[in-house]
């Protein structure tokens, strides 16, 4: 099973897809690199967005795991997270 990439709304608009499925990334860093290369100029914008957005792997922020080096397995979900408030 591939790794699913859950995007923020802005990222989704920038890339023109609601979510992505990637084959074979081993770490979160691989995910960011793959998307950057696959989407060219848009990918660069995407990379900028990742710098202001937290990243969660299976719902857990990578900050509480191994950061960009957090390892991924089949079927994992990598999600970009914006701070927000609701109620």
């Amino acid at each position: 099973m591939p790794v699913t990439l859950q995007l923020t709304y802005e990222m989704s608009k920038a890339l023109g897809v609601p979510r992505l499925e990637l084959e074979g990334p081993e770490t979160v860093a691989d995910v960011v690199r793959t998307v950057e290369s696959r989407f060219g100029d848009v990918g660069a914008d995407f990379a900028k967005l990742t710098r202001v957005t937290a990243i969660a792997v299976n719902g857990v922020l990578m900050n509480y795991q191994r950061g960009m080096k957090t390892r991924l397995g089949e079927g994992d979900v990598v999600a970009f997270v914006k701070a927000a408030a609701g109620g």
């Binding site: 937290a54 969660a56 299976n58 719902g59 408030a85 609701g86």
Partner: protein
């Protein structure tokens, strides 16, 4: 009289259609501020244990505070307090709209409605003439909240119920404009009194201790809010639905009756999607509020109405596995018009869907399918057919049909839309909050799952400390009466702008997470007023308010609520979470659910309660809680 208060309590007896204006009790105002705090003190003092919440002995208390009637942003809210028919414990809810302003203009701080009318009635209060008129409401009875308010006109400020309140749906609310005091069934209590509407008018002005300082400082706060990433940007632009994608990414978006924390169609029900596809403008905001979090949408056959908030998007969207925003908007409108809390309604629908899935109950609705939901919502509001069961909420439904493990409530009040398995402090808050499973009695999730400075939500650090501080703060905020969203402004813009993956940010989070008991010590320190609501209170009333004072007052209110519940027969066994939350993991790394058992003893200790969750004599004396 302390400045900021009108100085009057209006007592209305519906049984003999009489009324009396009485002086506000200054001692209670000093100790409990107003709003929820003042109302709880009155309820405790005026009622014996064991009254029937839907009987004539349950008073319905509308309560304002010293900030109401001012132009302070987010200050047009009132609290409603009574015994809850849904939980059997303390009942309360707050509401925006304009009724709070109306009460203060009429020169009324607190309105107590007692006993029961012999036929449907509505009340008109003219604060300038000190007059209360009782009108026959037979023609209004049966009308929705929109039509009722339209009939009553725009010259007064109204608080009304819809058919759900009339039919005593146990989670019916009270509506002002397009806002609702939704939780714990306060609308059912109003319906039990056969009271359709309260309308107020008056032209009195708020008397302040230092109006110049207040005015000058309020301008500053407006600018602060305007520039704030949450209050001035995300909420203003996307409404509360801005949080859908964040909660989904953190795997805590209730999905399929809390079976999962993530929904594949979350983006289609988000605030951003609403902005792009459905938004028709903003008109449903509360008076004097610059945040304008209300969203207007078009509902087919109705026109432009208030759109769904986050809680509705989640509980009536992802939790039913519905990713159709138009449908959710329609159901939101129906619930508002019938006058029902969409949190308890959504949870009751998802519970019925799961019973259907398991072959226990054929309620005619199933996950992922909007078919039949609109009709069932109408049936709930009118207590028709199976709707009569759903109108009683999940606790009573599970007693009748089984399924206690997945009846998603605490103390009878249905859980809000933050799954505590990925937000441990929020779980402790749900379990211990006096009115039951609710998020706006503390909003601990903001400090661990969704806000700009979130600690690890799945270890035990601070998880028994944050709820104490947040619940105290919320008790005080709900007594001023301010919107709880004001607290989202406490974390400054600079923190929002930090790169969440940077070493600096991670160091800050780590330092915060390791504060331990220092958090409560720091929050409890008394000094000069720092935050805007502390300064507003000080400028308006002339009394001293700092973070420490706010924590102390909040703790007093919280403990009084606790004593009310204990008097009603609640025990530590009620401080729990649904079986599904405690035992079923939703994260890959989890073996079980929320570790409440490890956190509760520490929470009790932090509160100054004994091992059975009873406030000690020393705690009550320290906080001046008279029992």
């Amino acid at each position: 009289m302390i400045k900021g208060y009108a100085g009057r309590v209006l007592e209305i007896d519906l049984a003999n259609r009489s009324f009396a204006f009485k002086p506000l009790d200054e001692e209670i105002a000093r100790l409990y501020i107003g709003g929820k705090g003042y109302g709880t003190r009155l309820l405790y003092d005026r009622t014996p244990a064991g009254i029937d919440p839907l009987g004539p002995d349950n008073p319905l208390i509308f309560a304002t505070g010293p900030l109401n009637g001012s132009v302070a942003p987010q200050s047009n809210r009132f609290a409603v307090v009574c015994k809850s028919p849904l939980t059997g414990g303390i009942g309360n809810a707050t509401c925006g709209g304009s009724f709070a302003l109306g009460m203060k203009k009429a020169g009324i701080d607190i309105l107590i409605v007692e006993r029961r009318a012999d036929a449907p009635v509505r009340i008109e209060i003219d604060g300038d003439r000190d007059e209360v008129l009782f009108h026959d409401a037979a023609e209004l009875w049966g009308k929705g909240t929109y039509a009722t308010q339209e009939c009553l006109g725009k010259k007064q400020h109204h608080a009304v119920i819809g058919p759900a309140g009339e039919n005593q749906v146990l989670y019916a609310g009270i509506v002002s404009n397009e806002r609702i005091a939704g939780r714990t069934g306060v609308g059912a209590v109003m319906g039990s009194k056969r009271l359709k509407a309260v309308s107020v008018r008056g032209s009195r002005k708020l008397d302040m201790e230092d109006p110049e300082k207040f005015k000058e400082y309020t301008k500053e706060v407006r600018n602060l809010f305007k520039d704030h990433p949450v209050l001035g940007e995300s909420m203003k632009r996307f409404g509360t639905g801005a949080i859908v994608n964040t909660v989904n990414a953190r795997n805590i978006l209730p999905t399929r009756n809390f079976q999962r924390g993530s929904f594949s169609e979350a983006m289609d029900i988000s605030g951003e999607y609403m902005e792009d596809h459905e938004l028709r403008g903003v008109k449903s905001s509360c008076i004097h509020c610059p945040v304008t979090c209300g969203r207007d949408v078009d509902v087919e056959g109705v026109g432009r109405v208030k759109g769904p908030e986050y809680e509705t998007l989640a509980l009536m969207g992802s939790n039913l596995e519905i990713g159709n925003l138009k449908k959710i908007s329609e159901w939101n409108y129906l619930a508002d018009d019938l006058g029902m809390d969409t949190i308890s309604l959504g949870a009751s629908l998802s519970f019925a869907m799961e019973l259907h899935d398991r072959g226990v109950l054929d309620a005619g609705i199933s996950f992922g399918d909007p078919e039949g939901v609109s009709e069932l919502i109408r049936d709930i509001g009118h207590r028709r057919g199976i709707g009569d069961d759903l109108a009683n909420g999940t606790r009573r439904m599970s007693a009748k049909y089984g399924g206690e493990e997945f009846a998603m409530h605490v103390k009878g009040l249905e859980l809000s839309a933050y799954d505590p398995r990925g937000s441990f402090a929020q779980g402790v808050e749900y379990a211990t909050t006096n009115r039951g499973g609710c998020h706006v009695q503390g909003a601990s999730m903001y400090m661990e799952s969704v806000g700009p400075l979130t600690i690890n939500p799945q270890n035990l650090k601070l998880k028994a400390d944050i709820p104490v501080v947040q619940q105290n703060l919320a008790c005080a905020i709900n007594s001023m009466v301010l919107c709880i969203f004001t607290t989202y402004g406490i974390i400054p813009k600079a923190v929002h702008e930090m790169n969440p993956n940077s070493i600096r940010y991670r160091a800050l989070v780590l330092a915060f997470e390791n504060m331990g008991p220092l958090l409560r010590t720091a929050m409890g320190m008394k000094g000069p007023p720092m935050l805007w609501f502390e300064k507003w209170l000080s400028y308006i009333t002339g009394q001293k308010f700092s973070g420490g004072h706010i924590q102390e007052i909040g703790a007093r209110i919280f403990n009084l609520e606790r004593m009310y519940n204990l008097r009603e027969g609640f025990t530590a066994a009620d401080d729990t979470l649904p079986g599904r939350i405690l035992h079923e993991p939703t994260f890959k790394h989890m073996q079980s659910g929320h570790p409440l058992g490890q956190l509760l003893p520490k929470y009790y200790k932090n509160r100054g309660w004994d091992a059975q969750g009873v406030p000690t004599k020393r705690t009550l004396e320290r906080l001046q809680v008279r029992i």
